[in-house]
């Protein structure tokens, strides 16, 4: 179908006829506005954020006291219960372990590593 180059802006006769003989819009029910507004208000209410209840001051005090007591307890137990000193055998084992690890870390260098470093 070919389109005309320019669409006519107005078809007054047709538009007038349509407007003249359009069906009358039925009137709204009397309570429609209030019904809509009730729903609007209800949705507004449901969207409102309910503030969280602040905890009781007694509970807050109790919580703070418990935290402070556990901190003090930890500190005291660290001071009052020092770790027992190491025995001679344990010290020797530890020294031997450290020597072994130290040697393996810096002692022998692989030939490939040297080549890579030279290149």
């Amino acid at each position: 179908m070919r389109f005309p180059e320019k669409f006519p802006e107005d078809d007054t006769a047709l538009a007038d006829f349509l407007r003249q003989h359009r069906q009358a819009v039925p009137p709204e029910s009397p309570d429609l506005e209030d019904r809509i507004m009730e729903m609007v208000v209800a949705s507004q209410r449901s969207l409102k954020v309910v503030p969280l209840r602040r905890p009781n001051w007694k509970l807050r005090l109790l919580g703070t006291g418990a935290i402070a007591a556990s901190l003090i307890g930890g500190l005291l137990s660290y001071r009052l219960l020092p770790p027992s000193p190491l025995s001679y055998a344990e010290l020797s084992r530890l020294e031997a372990y450290m020597e072994t690890n130290w040697n393996s870390a810096i002692g022998e260098t692989q030939a490939e590593d040297v080549i890579v470093m030279v290149n």
């Binding site: 359009r22 069906q23 819009v25 506005e33």
Partner: protein, 195 residues
């Protein structure tokens, strides 16, 4: 024949005072009364558009759906467009959804028959016949053509605004209007009416 819906004078005064964007701001801040004013200002046209695009029996429900969707969507509404344009777009969406959802289409003539008989007796028979013809003419069109014809020729919205409502170029609006009018004229001719 068009029926005027009475709106209280007080609301007219309120409508004249505050522009749409100010009312929208009030709504966003949670003032439901601002939305009541927007409703009173725009409901008649929304109602008319929906009526021309859908069945009449669900009209109140459709109007309600439009305004509730608008209320919920207001926080996302970017005020680059006019509120009315945005609202008519919602109305068009609601009409589209309704058409898709309704399984059976109703014959307008049947609706006319269901209206109170005393009303029919009071009006001119020819006028009734033409009314019926216009409705049937609209009903036989595609939804796209019908929408453009209703918005432009019945609701007298400018083509630019229709383009914004439907999110299509103005050229497409012109094209659809042209074809819609041609289809309508053709239908009238078939019915023996020459304009």
């Amino acid at each position: 024949m068009s029926r005027l819906v009475a709106v209280p004078i007080a609301s007219h005064q309120a409508q004249a005072e505050e522009p749409d964007y100010a009312l929208v701001q009030r709504c966003i801040q949670g003032d439901a009364q601002g939305f009541r004013l927007l409703y009173r200002r725009h409901q008649q046209r929304v109602r008319a558009i929906l009526y021309q695009l859908c069945d009449s029996e669900a009209l109140d429900d459709l109007v309600q759906d439009v305004f509730l969707r608008a209320w919920r969507g207001l926080p996302k509404f970017r005020q680059t467009a006019q509120f009315s344009t945005w609202l008519y777009r919602i109305a068009w969406n609601v009409a589209s959804d309704h058409r898709q959802a309704s399984a059976k289409s109703r014959d307008r003539l049947q609706v006319l028959k269901q209206q109170p008989s005393r009303r029919q007796e009071a009006v001119d028979v020819m006028h009734l016949h033409y009314q019926d013809m216009v409705q049937r003419g609209l009903a036989q069109m595609s939804f796209d053509h019908r929408t453009v014809l209703v918005l432009h020729d019945l609701e007298e919205l400018p083509q630019k605004e229709i383009a914004e409502i439907l999110a299509i170029p103005v050229g497409t609006v012109k094209s659809r209007l042209f074809h819609a009018r041609a289809a309508m004229r053709q239908y009238f001719q078939k019915e023996g009416v020459q304009l």
